[in-house]
C-alpha cells in the first residue's frame, strides 16, 4: 500500500485529502501513476486532466514526473504552489 495525498484543487476534484492505494507493478514513475489514477474514475480524470501542471512529491520532496516512485511511502499530487 502506498499513501497518496492531495492538495488544493486536486484534493477538491478527487474528493478526498488522502487514501491508501495498491499500485500495480507496472506503475513505476510519476507519469505512470498519473495515467493509472486517471483510469480509476471521472473525478481523477478531471483532477489530473492537465498532467503537466500537476506537481509530484515523494516522501515530501519535489520530483520530476519521470522519477521512479517504487517503494515510496507517501506520494503527494498538487497544483503549482501559490504561497508567500
Amino acid at each position: 500500500m502506498t499513501k497518496l495525498v492531495y492538495f488544493a484543487w486536486v484534493r477538491e476534484r478527487i474528493g478526498k485529502g488522502e487514501e491508501d492505494i495498491d499500485l500495480p507493478a507496472d506503475v513505476k514513475t510519476g507519469t505512470d501513476l498519473l495515467r493509472h489514477l486517471k483510469s480509476l474514475g471521472d473525478e481523477y480524470a478531471h483532477a489530473l486532466e492537465h498532467e503537466k501542471v500537476i506537481r509530484i512529491a515523494i516522501n515530501q520532496e519535489h520530483v520530476e514526473h519521470d522519477e521512479q516512485i517504487t517503494g515510496a511511502r507517501e506520494i503527494a499530487l498538487f497544483p503549482p504552489m501559490t504561497g508567500g
Binding site: 495525498v5 492538495f7 488544493a8 484543487w9 512529491a57 515530501q60 520532496e61 519535489h62 503527494a76 498538487f78 497544483p79 503549482p80 504552489m81 501559490t82 504561497g83 508567500g84
Partner: protein, 157 residues
C-alpha cells in the same frame, strides 16, 4: 566569517499571527556581528475591497522542510548570520500578515538578497495554496500560479 552551520534557521507554519519585531530581535540578540537585518512581511490585499479573505492550505511537514531547505541555501549562498521564516495558514483577512522572512548579515546587500531569495523560492517551491473568498459571497477559487514568480526565481539560478 559569517554563515555556515552556526547560523540559526527558524521556520514555523502557524495559524496565529506573528510578531515581526520580536522575531528580528531574537535573530540578533546577544550578537554584535550583524550590521544589517532585512524583514519582509507579506500581507493580504483586499483587491480594491473585493476580497473578504484568503484561505491558505499547506502540506504539513513538507512545507516546513521545504522552507528550511531554502533558508539553509540562502545562508550558504549569501553568508547570512541567520534566517527566520514564518508562514501563516487558514483564513486570513485583508490587511493581515501572511508571511515573514527575516535575514541578518554583516552587510546590507547580503541581507537584502537573502530575504528576497527566500521569498522568491518560497513562492514557487514551498507547498502552500491560496484560495480567494470574495466580499459578495462568490468563491473566487484557487489562485493561479504566476509566471512572473517563476521568472523571479530563475533570476537567481
Amino acid at each position: 566569517m559569517a554563515g555556515g552551520v552556526s547560523a540559526p534557521v527558524t521556520v514555523r507554519v502557524q495559524a496565529d499571527d506573528f510578531d515581526a519585531a520580536a522575531e528580528a530581535a531574537r535573530l540578533t540578540e546577544g550578537r554584535a556581528d550583524a550590521g544589517a537585518v532585512v524583514s519582509f512581511v507579506g500581507l493580504c490585499r483586499d483587491e480594491g475591497g473585493e476580497l473578504s479573505a484568503l484561505e491558505l492550505e499547506h502540506y504539513p511537514g513538507m512545507a516546513e522542510a521545504e522552507i528550511g531547505r531554502i533558508c539553509r541555501i540562502a545562508i550558504e549562498r549569501f553568508s547570512l548570520l541567520g534566517v527566520t521564516a514564518i508562514h501563516r495558514v487558514g483564513k486570513i483577512a485583508p490587511g493581515a500578515n501572511i508571511v515573514l522572512v527575516v535575514a541578518a548579515a554583516p552587510h546590507r546587500h547580503a541581507a537584502f538578497d537573502g530575504a528576497s531569495f527566500v521569498m522568491d523560492y518560497l513562492k514557487t517551491s514551498a507547498p502552500f495554496w491560496k484560495k480567494e473568498h470574495f466580499a459578495d459571497g462568490r468563491d473566487g477559487g484557487w489562485v493561479d500560479a504566476k509566471e512572473s514568480d517563476d521568472r523571479a526565481r530563475e533570476k537567481w539560478a
